[in-house]
Amino acid sequence: MILSVQHVTTYQYDEPMRSACQSLRLTPSRYQGQRVISWTLDVVGGTKGGSFRDGAGDRIEGWSMRGPVDKVVIRAFGQVETTDCAGVLRNHRELVHPFAYLRETSATWQDEAIERLAAEACDDSGTALARAHKLSAAVSEAIEYTPGATDAQTTAADALALGRGVCQDHAHALIAASRVRNIPARYVTGYLHSTADGEGHEASHAWAEVWVDDLGWVGFDPANECCPDERYIRIGSGLDAHDAAPIRGVSQGEGDESMNVVVALESVQQ
């Protein structure tokens, strides 16, 4: 499948800022399931700084803007050819040891409910892959997809207690439940192409990857009860949503910020 992406994020300030600076993790991953045909990333009026591929295989670019800054417009667009790898992140070059993804973060804090969910989802029998599927299914069942019930700061434990949430909450809950069982897990950002019948929820998407011995990292999307396939574009990963964020930025000044995101994702006829 060839997917065409247009992703524009705009930060608007009610008073001009003295300067702004961003760190962008906003380039599609390179692995067997993805071939980047074209990709352009820029900050309108900004200066590009250092760029590199980090140990987790993510492309990172630093950008800065001198003031006065009225708004910051971050544009990412291009085409990616995807194939279905059943969620397996095959041929992805990275160096970080999976155990580095066992660390708790505030968003993936493990309370008793998460421990219970992880314990009840599966026992230690069967394959590691089967266990990961069961954990993911348990999270899908425990948290009903409900936009607006949670916000960006909601933790895995909060969402589980509420029983409702969006893809970020599902991913956090699966990560927390995996780590409780000593299974490395991480947060993944990307895009999801919605099919015509309305399946799939939003173009900007997030899911989790769980470490499976013998296979490596395997993606699970509890929000859609599946593993990522050719409808998904993978961008980057981290310990949680904050750590994996495609855009991290700060601006210096007194102005209040408002944000607007537009993502258009289309399948290109071949």
Partner: protein, 470 residues
């Protein structure tokens, strides 16, 4: 009664290194000594050296007591320490380069993977990036204690930003001003080359993109920090800028310093702030001390940061146990300096032993520092011991235990004259193009009779440390 090694007197005889001091002590009656002590204090106050060593907290304007009685090593004693410290600093840097790269030591099963990768000080964000010359810890402070003529033990390593070196330099400066005759009569190796050596070390790790004489800056959290005096002292000594986060900004893949003549590129940052605060775009988003975007510049080779972010994983107290193994693994050598035998409470057998022998052991928190969160068994009450027993049982992996060491003593001026007091030693090893160690260090002394705790927050003082030239 434990027999402590007295570094000056053995069997009624004055040991060789201290022979030059015997006459000096005798020539100083109580009144003169008090006068000199007052003079020393006035000097310290005047230069403004009033900070708490090793992040111990407490009153930042408090003067740490200075004891005029020097601590002395012979060239022979020092040369073993010199080799041992350099060996250790080298191995610690090999370890850091390895665990942020291919991790051969983990693959070889010499150190448990979890200990490295689940360590809070392990920085995932710098995996795969190799800093210039592969050096992560450019200033290694190694804390040593002595228990006999030839017995030295490493208590802990400090690979991040060990403080206290300004004391080493100022103690010497003040001793030379007050007792010039002593320095004429004894051949004492100088320590004042430290500033140049530090500058040389930092310049030698400038990034490859730097094609001129590197610009070095010391990054301080600010004047409210307890070690601010040292930051400004070192900047002065090296002739480099002292900056705060707000004085720097990132543009074009480089770090720039705001100056009256416009922005100036900075090539090497000797930072005295913790990893977590370096860059809100990479670490703690609420940090006001750091420089937004710094880590992107660093990881793309536009600036060097000393010590490198992530260096702390080598000086963790649980990783400490494996330093002798690192020396064998990377250098193919036997350790010259020994570790203190250490029990890991995370291991069931060790835990059992520790819980049965709490009244004899020193128990430390794995991530603690500055003598806090520590139990000195023989000096503790039953209640304190029981409190610790609960803490250890709660979270065994959070604690290690060591035998209570019979720390050596050196003569120290006290109210009644001169008396033996327990000491430790922190030398500062510089790692750049070369590994350099100035002959000396910071000697801390427990001023309270019988006390084994040298931390200044608990009644410790400092001394000038001499290494006699051949």
């Amino acid at each position: 009664m434990t027999d402590y090694f007295n570094e000056m007197f053995q069997a009624g005889q004055v040991r060789a290194p201290y022979q030059g001091l015997e006459g000096w002590t005798k020539s100083m009656p109580a009144e003169l000594r008090q006068m000199k002590q007052a003079e020393a204090e006035a000097l310290f106050r005047r230069i403004g050296i009033t900070f708490a060593v090793y992040g111990e907290g407490g009153d930042p304007d408090r003067l740490i007591p200075f004891d005029m009685f020097p601590r002395v090593f012979t060239q022979g004693e020092w040369s073993k320490l010199d080799r041992g410290i350099k060996q250790r600093a080298k191995a610690l840097n090999c370890f850091l380069q390895d665990v942020y790269g291919r991790a051969e030591i983990v693959q070889a099963g010499k150190i448990p993977a979890r200990l490295v990768y689940q360590n809070e000080a392990f920085e995932r964000s710098v995996v795969g990036f190799t800093p210039p010359r592969g050096i992560y810890s450019h200033i290694v402070g190694i804390d040593l204690v002595r228990t006999g003529p030839d017995e030295f033990f490493v208590l802990e390593d400090n690979c991040r930003t060990p403080s206290g070196v300004s004391y080493m330099l100022e103690n010497r400066e003040i001793m030379m001003r007050m007792f010039p005759k002593l320095f004429r009569e004894n051949r004492i190796a100088p320590v004042d080359g430290y500033g140049d050596a530090l500058r040389r070390t930092l310049a030698s790790v400038a990034p490859a993109k730097c094609d001129r004489e590197p610009t070095i800056a010391i990054l301080t959290p600010g004047h409210f920090n307890s070690a601010y005096y040292e930051h400004s002292f070192l900047a002065d000594t090296m002739g480099v800028e002292l900056v705060e986060g707000q004085d720097l900004f990132v543009e074009n893949g480089f770090v720039w310093m705001r100056t009256t003549e416009g922005p100036q590129k900075v090539d090497v940052i000797y930072r005295r702030i913790d990893d977590a605060f370096l860059d809100p775009l990479c670490f703690r988003p609420d940090s006001m001390l750091g420089i937004p975007g710094l880590m992107d510049v660093y990881r793309s080779g536009g600036v060097s940061i000393c010590s490198a972010p992530g260096a702390g994983v080598a000086d963790d107290k649980a990783v400490y146990t494996f330093v002798p193994e690192m020396i064998r693994f990377y250098l193919g050598e036997e350790p010259i300096l020994n570790n203190v035998p250490t029990w890991q409470c995370s291991k069931p057998d060790d835990l059992k032993y520790v819980l049965e022998h709490l009244s004899e052991l020193v128990v430390k928190e794995v991530h603690g520092s500055g003598g806090y969160g520590m139990l000195v068994g023989p000096k503790s009450t039953k209640d304190q011991i029981e409190l610790f027993r609960h803490k250890i049982e709660e979270e065994p992996e959070n604690y290690i235990a060591q035998p209570t060491l019979a720390l050596s003593t050196t003569p120290t001026f006290v109210e009644e004259g001169v008396a033996p007091r327990h000491v430790d030693l922190r030398p500062y090893c510089l790692v750049g193009e070369q590994i350099e160690l100035v002959p000396g260090g910071l000697t801390r002394v427990a001023l309270t009779d019988g006390s084994l705790v040298v931390n200044s927050s608990q009644g410790g003082g400092v001394k000038d440390t001499w290494v006699l030239a051949e």
